[in-house]
């Protein structure tokens, strides 16, 4: 069954006010286009979960979409703070729940596996335990030593951007894998956005690369350049200049609102956004191909 639909349709059908959403991606494949569509549709009271919130959560929070954030590193990687989120937390305008990366992805892994928790080793840094009651110590029933437990994370919706998917939702990623697979399996509903929609035969020619199978996917959207200013390995480069630029923009609420007006509310969709970025940016972010050696699965 084809699950192809427009991004606007997927967001309006599958993301509801008050949902916990997980826009997945560790630096790579961050679905900015989906965040922007959520902003345009005026979704409210969302809980934004993700190990590395990135600029898109700064933008969604600034647009008034968020009630709460669940995270483990709230920074602009290599640049500094996420200044909108930082201001909101300092002003008490946003609820938060905090983990380490390992805590966050262990929660997702447990959620994806249908487990009540997965044990983690202790870290000798008890302050997060003190401020987050979800951290619970347990006794290992075999050795008697202490381990840490955290509850599973099961978002209402996960969004995963991929290089290619077929119309049914079989989705393939290469490059940094982050927590994409775990987020998809942990979530109740899954939106896949893809740089390319390919025939099912392309997917089936390389099954080891498929991280998400069709039957856990609810919607498939063809969204080229979905990740900018993040990137899609092999398709376009990370726009590091914009990550540095956001550090300046996000210093003032007014500049952030001006940005949203121009680049989110001011465009209809991702195609118009990409067009608006202009040829110079397109050229700057273009990448030369570097193909993997083909693999032989054998004809059986």
């Amino acid at each position: 069954m084809s699950k192809l639909c427009t991004l606007s349709d997927a967001v309006s059908r599958l993301i509801h006010n008050g949902d916990t959403v997980y826009l997945a991606g560790f630096t790579h494949l961050i679905p900015f286009a989906v965040g922007h569509e959520i902003i345009r549709q005026g979704k409210k009271n969302l809980t934004l979960a993700r190990a590395t919130p990135d600029l898109i959560y700064d933008q969604m929070a600034a647009a008034g979409c968020a009630r709460k954030i669940i995270f483990s590193y709230m920074g602009n990687p290599g640049v500094g703070s996420l200044k909108v989120l930082r201001r909101m937390l300092e002003a008490g305008q946003l609820e938060w729940e905090e983990y380490s990366h390992f805590g966050m992805i262990t929660r997702l892994q447990a959620g994806a596996a249908g487990l009540p928790f997965l044990p983690m080793n202790l870290t000798a840094a008890p302050d997060l335990e003190r401020v987050n009651p979800n951290y619970k110590r347990l006794t290992d029933p075999y050795t008697g030593r202490e381990v840490m437990a955290l509850p599973p994370l099961n978002p209402d919706v996960a969004v995963v951007h991929v290089q290619r998917a077929d119309e049914h939702g079989n989705a393939q990623i290469w490059g940094i894998l982050g927590e994409q697979k775990e987020a998809a399996f942990a979530a109740e509903r899954v939106i896949v956005t893809a740089e390319e929609i390919v025939p099912e035969e392309v997917i089936r020619s390389d099954p080891n690369r498929t991280i998400i199978p069709e039957f856990i996917v609810d919607a498939v959207c063809h969204v080229p350049y979905c990740a900018h200013p993040s990137y899609t390995q092999g398709y376009y480069d990370r726009d590091n200049a914009f990550y540095l630029e956001w550090d300046r923009i996000s210093e003032s609420d007014e500049a952030v609102q001006d940005y949203l007006k121009e680049w989110v509310y001011g465009v209809r969709d991702r195609a118009e956004y990409w067009e608006k970025l202009g040829e110079e940016t397109h050229r700057r972010l273009a990448v030369s191909p570097r193909y993997a050696a083909p693999v032989n699965y054998g004809e059986y």
Binding site: P77, G78, H101, A124
Partner: protein, 253 residues
Amino acid sequence: MDTAYTSSELMIINAARLLRDGDVVFVGVGIPNLACNLARRTHAPNLYMIYEAGVIGARPNRLPLSIGDPTLVSGAAAVCSMYDIFTLYLQRGNVDVGFLGGAQIDRFGNINATVIGDYAHPKVRLPGSGGSMEIAAWANRCYIMTPHQKRRFPERVDFHTSAGFLSGKGERQASGVRGKGPQAVVTNLGILEPDENGELILTALHAGATVEMARENTGWALKVAPSLRITEPPTAEELRILREELDPQGIYR
């Protein structure tokens, strides 16, 4: 070439020299990233760079701004999920070195990267742990790089994001974590290393810095090692690699 150097160049070069050829290193963002890449291009060609983003054996052609840059993936030995990197690699004990940083480092090498002030009503909200809580616990040894300033070196941190020696070496050892803890803190004035009790003491000064300068910029009564040494100044070749190959735009000058 201009052989005058900035304090961040001084820290990067001294941190690079702490790395051993063949080390498996968890590379962090910013200046630790430069230190690892510099070590690989100088005395440690077999340095194995892995990233908490899940990249194993990266050989980046350009300076990655973040630890998730695509240049880390192209030509890498392997890519794995975040869950795998934190379990199979870090927690299992396959990582030799972790680089850590933070807003505050205290007398016993504990790090705060979470908040300044009260947690529920933060005066300054910092990015938080990311991977540092587990890296500090499970990497076999850790290094810290930070400018030497009194506010960065309080007697006690406001929040324990990641563990140094807690309130003394015995306490860390009793906690059951694998890693040996912070082995050196490289600053713009010199190098601090833990004594037998886990307290950070001054063991080296960079040329031009004095014990008085280090003491004035430390928030506790800083002890000085009897074997205090002076570090070798950056070489022209180290500076050239940093400026021409690793950071041509001078982002981290």
